[in-house]
C-alpha cells in the first residue's frame, strides 16, 4: 500500500522519498566528513606504510614496497606487543563490561540516593587519562604504595608490580576497569528502555531475580551489550595513555601495548612509515576480531529491527 500511495505523487517527489535518496540525505553529514577528513588521512597512512617517511625529513619519502611489513615480523618488540595487547584486551574488556553492567543494574533500583551513587561511580571516568590521576594510580601500586601497605598489614609479601614484566600489565588492566563509567551510563540508558511490563509479566510467571535477569534483562539489553563489547574492544586495542604515563612500556616491554609502540615509532623514533605499516597490520587483526563478534552476535543479540 506504501507503493500505491507513492505512485500518486509526481516523479520528483517520488525521488525525494526513495530509500536511496532519504538514506543519503540522513547519512550526508557522515559521508561528507568521511570523504573530506577521514578518507585522505587513511589512504595517506596506507601510502606512508609503503615508504620510509619519517616526519622530519624534507621532500618525498622513498617508496620501499612492503619492506616495512616484512620487517614487522622480525621485530621482537612488535611481536611481543601484539601478545601484550591481546592479553590486555581479553582480560580488561570482559571485566570492564561485567563490572559496568553489574553496577548499572545495581543502580537502577528506585531510590533517591541512586542518582548520587551513580554520580559517585561515574566520577573516575570523568578524570580519564588526566596526568594527576594516572600519577596517583602509579603510587597506589608503587613498592610502598597503598596496595602493598595493605598486603603487608595482612602479613603477606609486598608485590613489586612495576618491576615484574609479568605483573606490570595488571595495574593497567585495573585502571581500565576502574574507568567503566561510559559503559555503565550506556547500560543504564539501555536498562531504562526495558518496559516495566516485561518484568511484571515475568514476576507473575514466578521468576526469581536471577531468572528475570537472565530471561528479560540480558536479552533486551543484548544490542547494547554488543555495542559496548565492540567499542570497548576497539578502544582497548587503542589503549595508550596509561601505558605511556605509568610504565612507558616497561619493564622489559612487559606493558608495550601496540598503540604505544606505534606512538614511539611515529613520534619519538621518527619512523612514521614503519608505524603506519604496524597500524595497518593491526587494522586487519582488529577487523577480523570485530567481524567475528558481529557474526557470532547474530546468535545472541535479540533485535527488533532487521
Amino acid at each position: 500500500m506504501d507503493k500505491s500511495a507513492l505512485s500518486l505523487k509526481v516523479d520528483s517527489q517520488k525521488f525525494l522519498h526513495r530509500n536511496e535518496f532519504v538514506g543519503h540525505v540522513f547519512a550526508a553529514p557522515f559521508v561528507f566528513g568521511f570523504i573530506c577528513f577521514s578518507l585522505i588521512p587513511i589512504l595517506t597512512s596506507l601510502y606512508y606504510s609503503l615508504t620510509n617517511y619519517s616526519m622530519m625529513t624534507k621532500g618525498q619519502p622513498d617508496f620501499i614496497g612492503i619492506k616495512n611489513y616484512l620487517n614487522l615480523f622480525q621485530d621482537e618488540i612488535f611481536v611481543k606487543s601484539i601478545g601484550v595487547t591481546l592479553k590486555y584486551v581479553f582480560i580488561s574488556v570482559p571485566l570492564k563490561l561485567a563490572f559496568a553492567l553489574f553496577v548499572a543494574y545495581l543502580l537502577t533500583r528506585k531510590s533517591r540516593l541512586v542518582t548520587l551513587y551513580r554520580s559517585l561511580y561515574y566520577i573516575p571516568s570523568l578524570v580519564g587519562g588526566s596526568v594527576a590521576v594516572t600519577l596517583v594510580w602509579k603510587q597506589l601500586f608503587a613498592r610502598k604504595g597503598l596496595f602493598n601497605a595493605l598486603m603487608v598489614n595482612l602479613g603477606l609479601d609486598a608485590i613489586n608490580w612495576f618491576g615484574d614484566k609479568n605483573l606490570a600489565l595488571y595495574p593497567l588492566v585495573l585502571m581500565s576497569v576502574w574507568q567503566f563509567g561510559s559503559s555503565m551510563i550506556i547500560f543504564a540508558a539501555g536498562l531504562k528502555e526495558i518496559p516495566e511490563s516485561y518484568y511484571e509479566a515475568a514476576r507473575i510467571d514466578g521468576g526469581n531475580g536471577l531468572q528475570i535477569f537472565l530471561r528479560i534483562t540480558l536479552p533486551c539489553l543484548s544490542p547494547i551489550i554488543l555495542y559496548n563489547l565492540i567499542m570497548q574492544t576497539i578502544s582497548a586495542f587503542m589503549a595508550f595513555t596509561q601505558a605511556y604515563i605509568i610504565t612507558g612500556g616497561g619493564p622489559d616491554n612487559g606493558t608495550m601495548m601496540y598503540a604505544l609502540y606505534v606512538y614511539l615509532h611515529a613520534i619519538k623514533y621518527g619512523n612514521m612509515g614503519y608505524a603506519c605499516a604496524m597500524s595497518w597490520f593491526m587494522l586487519v587483526i582488529m577487523s577480523i576480531i570485530t567481524l567475528i563478534i558481529f557474526k557470532t552476535s547474530k546468535a545472541w543479540v535479540f533485535t527488533e529491527a532487521d
Partner: protein, 439 residues
C-alpha cells in the same frame, strides 16, 4: 585538480559556516609596510613562560616595528607540534631546540652569515661557546641558551655515614660501584639512583669515550655515519656493573625506576639514595629542595675508566634558539636571538633559568647574586671546562638515538633479571645502534 577544487569549495563553505566562531586576529592589517611579525615558540615551566613573555614585550617596546607572536608548550607537546609544522613547512621563525636537533637539520637556517655580517653579536661569546652549537663542519646551528654538562649529585652526609671518601675529580667506576654498595650496606638506601635517560649519554656513551687516548673513541663517529668504536665488548664491564648494582639492590630495579617521574622526586631528592645522575642545570633546584630539609648535596664528576685516563665529558648546550628555514624574516629573527643571548637587561629578567649564559657579561651579572646551588654548578662547569677535550667533538647525536637508548635500557634490565648476559647485552646494544645507520 579535483582535490584542489574540493579543497577550495570546502574552505569556502567552512569559512562561511564558521565565520561567526572564528575570532581570528585582524591586527595584521595595520597597513604599515615595515611592520614585521615573528613567530616564536619554546617549551618550559610556568616561570619560563612568564619571564620569556616579559622579555618579548621588552623587545617589542625597543623595536616598535616588530611584533612577536609566541607559543609555549610542555616538552612533549612542543615536539609533537613542531613535527606537524615541519611536515607542513611552517616552522616558527624562532624556535627552541635541545640535543635532538639533527632530526630537524633540514629546517634550520645556519647563523654563520649573520655572525659574519654582524647581525648576530658574538663579541662577548667565546669561540668555545659558539662551538657547542656547531656541527663538525662549522655550521652555526643556533645560539645556546645555556651551558650544560653531566655530573653526579650526591648526598654529603650519606657518604660520611657510610664511610665513603668524598669523590675526587678523577674517581673511577670501581670507586663509584664501591661507594654505591657501601651506602646500601650502611644505610639500606640505594647507593645510586636515577638512571633515567641521562644515563645513556652520561654513563654508557661516556664510558666508551673514556677508553684509549683523548678523542680516540666515541659511541658514534664524528660524521654520525656509524659507530665510533669497533669492539662491542668495550661496553661489557659497564653493563655488568649496572646490572650487578641493580641485582644487589644498590640501584633501583625496573619497578622502582618507574616511580621516578621527574628529577624532583628522584630517590636522591627524597632521601632514599646516595647519588644520582644529573644534567647540571637541574642541580640548583634539587640542591634547594634538599637544603630545605637540612640535607646537603654536592656535585662530583662522572667517574672515569682509568684514574689517569680521559674524562670523556664535555661542555654541551642545554638548548638553543634557532632560526627556521621557513621564516620570511630570517634577519629579524637572527637579530632577536642575538639580543636574547647578549642583552644584560633581558637576561636579568630571564635569570639564567634556561642554563648558564654563554655571554660573559651576562654571566658576570648573574653570578653576582648566585645562590649556593648555582655557585656549585658554576664551579663544576669551570672544572669540566678545564679537562682536556678532543680537538674535534660532535655535539650532535644521530637521528634514531632515542630508539637505541630505549633498547639499551631494556637490555640492562634483562641482564639484571638474568635473562641475558652482559656480553650479549653489549653486542645487542651495539647492533641496535648500528641498525639506525642502515635505515
Amino acid at each position: 585538480m579535483k582535490k584542489k577544487l574540493l579543497a577550495v569549495g570546502l574552505s569556502a563553505l567552512m569559512m562561511m559556516s564558521m565565520a561567526a566562531c572564528d575570532t581570528g586576529n585582524g591586527k595584521q592589517s595595520s597597513g604599515d609596510e615595515e611592520q614585521i611579525t615573528l613567530r616564536m615558540a619554546w617549551w618550559g615551566s610556568q616561570t619560563r613562560h612568564d619571564r620569556t613573555v616579559q622579555v618579548i614585550e621588552m623587545y617589542e617596546k625597543e623595536h616598535p616595528n616588530v611584533k612577536i607572536e609566541y607559543e609555549f608548550f610542555s616538552f612533549d607537546d612542543y615536539f609533537t607540534k613542531l613535527k606537524t609544522l615541519v611536515a607542513s613547512d611552517n616552522v616558527w621563525d624562532v624556535f627552541q631546540l635541545g640535543g635532538n636537533f639533527p632530526e630537524y637539520m633540514d629546517k634550520i637556517e645556519f647563523l654563520n652569515s649573520y655572525i659574519d655580517s654582524g647581525i648576530v653579536d658574538h663579541s662577548k661569546i667565546s669561540d668555545a661557546y659558539l662551538k657547542i652549537t656547531q656541527d663538525t663542519e662549522g655550521n652555526q646551528i643556533g645560539l645556546s641558551n645555556g651551558l650544560n654538562t653531566y655530573g653526579i649529585a650526591y648526598d654529603v652526609d650519606m657518604f660520611k655515614a657510610a664511610g665513603v671518601p668524598t669523590p675526587t675529580e678523577n674517581w673511577t667506576w670501581d670507586d663509584f660501584a664501591n661507594a654505591a654498595r657501601k651506602i646500601k650496606a650502611a644505610t639500606g638506601h640505594y647507593g645510586s639512583s636515577g638512571f633515567t635517560s641521562s644515563e645513556f649519554i652520561a654513563g654508557c656513551s661516556t664510558y666508551v669515550a673514556q677508553q684509549g687516548a683523548v678523542g680516540e673513541y666515541g659511541f658514534f663517529n664524528l660524521e654520525l655515519t656509524g659507530m665510533g668504536f669497533k669492539d662491542p665488548q668495550m661496553l661489557t664491564p659497564y653493563i655488568q656493573m649496572r646490572a650487578d648494582l641493580i641485582k644487589e639492590g644498590a640501584s633501583p630495579d625496573a619497578g622502582a625506576e618507574m616511580e621516578i617521574t621527574n628529577i624532583e622526586n628522584d630517590f636522591l631528592v627524597t632521601g632514599e639514595a646516595g647519588m644520582t645522575w644529573v644534567a647540571v642545570n637541574q642541580f640548583p633546584t634539587i640542591y634547594d629542595v634538599c637544603a630545605q630539609e637540612g640535607r646537603t648535596l654536592a656535585l662530583a664528576t662522572v667517574p672515569r675508566y682509568k684514574a689517569d685516563g680521559p674524562a670523556g665529558t664535555v661542555i654541551m648546550s642545554s638548548q638553543m634558539l634557532c632560526v627556521s628555514k621557513d621564516s620570511k624574516h630570517k634577519e629579524e629573527a637572527a637579530k632577536f636571538i642575538s639580543w636574547f643571548q647578549n642583552s644584560v637587561d633581558c637576561n636579568n629578567v630571564l635569570q639564567g633559568e634556561r642554563g648558564i649564559p654563554i655571554n660573559s657579561d651576562v654571566l658576570a651579572a648573574l653570578q653576582q647574586n648566585a645562590t649556593e646551588g648555582q655557585k656549585l654548578m658554576y664551579n663544576y662547569v669551570d672544572l669540566v671546562g678545564s679537562f682536556p677535550t678532543p680537538e674535534k667533538i660532535n655535539v650532535l647525536s644521530p637521528a634514531g638515538q632515542d630508539q637505541v637508548v630505549d633498547q639499551y635500557r631494556n637490555f640492562v634490565q634483562q641482564v639484571a633479571t638474568g635473562s641475558i648476559t652482559a656480553k650479549e647485552a653489549a653486542q645487542k646494544t651495539y647492533d641496535a645502534a648500528q641498525a639506525i645507520f642502515s635505515k
